[in-house]
Amino acid sequence: MLFNSIEFIFFFLPATVCGYFVLAKIGGARWAMLWLTLASLVFYSYWDIRFLPILCSSIVFNYLIGLVLAEKWHSGIRGSAQRWLIFGVAVNLLILAYCKYANLFLLAYNDLTRQHIEFIKVLLPLGISFFTFTQIAFLVDVYRGKAREHNAMKYALFVSYFPHLIAGPILHHREMMPQFGSPNTLRPNPLYLAVGCTIFSMGLFKKVVFADGMAMIADPVFAVTGSAVSPVDAWLGVTAFALQIYFDFSGYSDMAIGLSYMFGIRLPVNFFSPYKSTGIIEFWRRWNMTLSRFLRDYLYIPLGGNRKGPMRRHINLMITMLLGGLWHGAGWTFIVWGGLHGLYLIVNHGWRTMTKRFFPRVAVSRNLLLRMAFIALTFLCVTIAWVFFRATSLDSAVAMLKAMAGLNLHTGKLLVWTLIHGTQIAIPALLLVVFFTPNTLEIMKKFRPALDTDFLKPDGRRLAPAWKPDMLWGGVTALTLLIGLLTLFATGDGTQFLYFQF
């Protein structure tokens, strides 16, 4: 079931919210949590009932390993705990590798050995990367003595909680468990519902109007071979995709936060205007923030982080980003995309070191023009990297980059510029939205609907409209939802979020 589907909005969501609060009133926290867990499993199995046993087995397995680890840790048996942790993490990664990467390995093996072993027909459960990473983080935290869970139902809810299940955010046990079943989440709060509905409406609007609208420009460009694309179309198509994935992920993140907040449960921030970043380091602190946190805490730092000198830091960064790219998809294009970002990060760290040493004034400058130049350069780098992310093969990515470089000046045919009307207005308009308007959390900052929003301090320079429960915002929320729903109705079944495939 998609957040942007008629079934979800008109049936699943109202039934789940009402059932949750009714059961909380009648039976208390346990019944409410049981309801939410069952609703989440229904939500998940709606796509394909065959996914359900995989998710349930994963939850049971990790819960049991978590119990064993906690027991070993409290008994002080570190060596045995470590073996159990390795076993637990290895099983999780093997299942993920089999479901997601088996055919990539076969492809690589076939290429290397020039054999033709047939691909395996693997059932790839939706969101497997997200719930696997969430549970690996849990196991590591239990091993480190930072987490412990005896309540099986609460653990099942933590993993399967529908607002985050399919495309994140990747949750930390310690930030979610205290919220599940807490007294202030068991009564319907009209303020939480109002804030949640508003954020959900904004997310729906971003997804169905902005993201799906940009897809109409990007898809035809990426559907033709690079040599047939003119430079203008190549840039338009790639920029449109940069905007599509931006609003797609932003819309999804808003909807997840809004949905969860209706229950009074705060999810971690996962997306915070990443294209306003002045560098790639900052970009990764704003884009898929919980994945960045996971990769930092459970991969980059265990690899040594920046503790073993600059060269080792660069190697660690590159390994982290290559694996981060691979996490996004089983294909060479994703690995190259990750590698490119690894390279960007290394250059960015180098630049920081250099400016601190040789141009200290530049390093601390708040000059507006300089900031704008950095933002533009970051956006350009990210957009170029998106070519690999979106292209179906390395060849077509290279062809697209050639087109962008103007090498198809004479062979490329005009496509988007002339055929897709509104392109001329839509792309610049959405770029203005991206760079010059406040994001949802800034508008909602007074009510702190997400976790870890301490960085959202009042900013006198920005004229962000502040949300408050009044008639004006009631009307704005309704109109946003209305336009979103009408677009949804008009386009039929909702299109999937891009991050669902990961």
Binding site: I6, N184, R187, N189, P190, L191, A194, C197, H421, G422, K446, F447, K468, P469, D470, M471, W473, G474, G475, T477, A478, L479, L481, L482, L485, L486, F489, A490, T491, G492, D493
Partner: protein
């Protein structure tokens, strides 16, 4: 009620919720609802709810027929169940049957006629599935036995053209909820298009809805007839007499005759074959099939009729002429007279067998 955050008083929240719910409900109703509509979101014909919009090609060619008939959306199937006579065929039948004339005929004999034609379905297989699913049992079937694309009695789900999300084979696979969403989605699309056409100049509309002709037609749930007067060219008086483009020597193969026999067996009841005139028609085929099965057939000389699309489908004049001629021959058939006893004092015309040339 927990209102522990500044600015969120009980009264401000009440104002928020009343405004939000009010605007949403009023907005949705204003765009989706029309009094008397046949199904959710149905667009009426200039405010007349006895017709619903059935076709649009602004962004994609889409037609409601298959979803509505197979998944029983709205009241169409309920009306079809009450029908004494059901017409079967594809778009040529839909264009060829003039609703004004059939309604007069219904009054004259006190019978109920239903036009179950399904545009795009070359074979009658899809309609057979509809008939079986909903248990339609009229006293008389009138079948447009056409051979264009594929023979009507072939057991396939051939389309003349794919109509967006509702190609025949896919309609059979998905459920009623999916069909309802499809129907609703088309209605909303068309409503947005109609609003856009009302408020924006033509050059803007051409940029947005550039792929289609803007052709619209409406269907009556009560008798299945089509209102085609808004189709450009359909009502033009300009004579477009049809030519004969098909070799008139076109015998019916035995396999097709057997296919027809099985089809009739499956639908049950009495049947009469017709052929709506068009440039590629094959009368010999119809007559041979009918003769082999002992079924009456009404066929006509196509050159006496006019078309709006160069011989594919009849225009309004052609449809009126065909319908009136076909019904006048129908009422003369003994099979018809046997099934529908004439009202007192009504004189029935004499039946003549064989191909009947229309009177000009």
């Amino acid at each position: 009620m927990v209102n522990d955050i500044d600015g969120a008083t009980k009264s401000s929240l009440i104002r928020f919720w009343i405004t939000a719910v009010g605007v949403l409900v009023i907005g949705l109703l204003a765009i989706v609802y029309t009094p008397g509509q046949d199904h959710l979101g149905a667009i009426t014909l200039d405010g007349d709810p006895t017709w619903y919009r059935n076709y649009g090609d602004g962004i994609r060619r889409e037609i409601q027929d298959r979803d509505i008939f197979f998944h029983d959306i709205g009241h169409s199937i309920a009306y079809a169940r009450q029908a004494d006579i059901i017409f079967l065929g594809h778009s040529m039948l839909l264009y060829g049957l003039d609703w004004r004339t059939t309604r007069e005929f219904e009054k004259k004999y006190g019978v109920k006629i239903y036009n179950l034609g399904s545009a795009g379905d070359a074979s009658g297989e899809f309609l057979l599935r509809v008939i079986k699913k909903h248990g339609l049992h009229p006293k008389l079937w009138i079948i447009n036995v056409d051979n264009t694309g594929t023979n009507f009695f072939y057991r396939s789900l051939d389309n003349f053209g794919q109509f967006g999300t509702s190609a025949a084979d896919s309609v059979l696979r998905y459920g009623r909820w999916h069909a309802m969403k499809n129907v609703f989605s088309r209605n909303i699309n068309w409503r947005i298009e109609m609003i856009a056409r009302r408020f924006f100049p033509e050059w803007v509309i051409r940029k947005i809805y550039r792929t289609g002709t803007g052709m619209t037609f409406y269907r009556a749930p009560a008798d299945g007839n089509l209102f085609l007067d808004k189709v450009p060219g359909y009502t033009l008086k300009k004579e477009q007499t049809m030519e004969v483009l098909h070799d008139p020597h076109c015998p019916a193969p035995q396999a097709e005759i057997e296919g027809a026999r099985n089809y009739l067996k499956e639908i049950g009841g009495s049947a009469i074959f017709i052929q709506v005139p068009h440039a590629n028609e094959c009368r010999q085929h119809v007559l041979e099939t009918a003769k082999a099965l002992g079924v009456p057939a009404l066929v006509f000389d196509q050159t006496a009729f006019t078309s709006w699309d160069r011989g594919g489908h009849l225009n309004r004049d052609g449809a009126q002429k065909f319908t009136s001629l076909m019904l006048s021959q129908l009422e003369a058939l003994p099979e018809f007279q046997h099934l529908f006893l004439p009202t007192a004092g009504h004189i029935l015309p004499e039946y003549k067998s064989g191909p009947i040339a229309p009177t000009n």
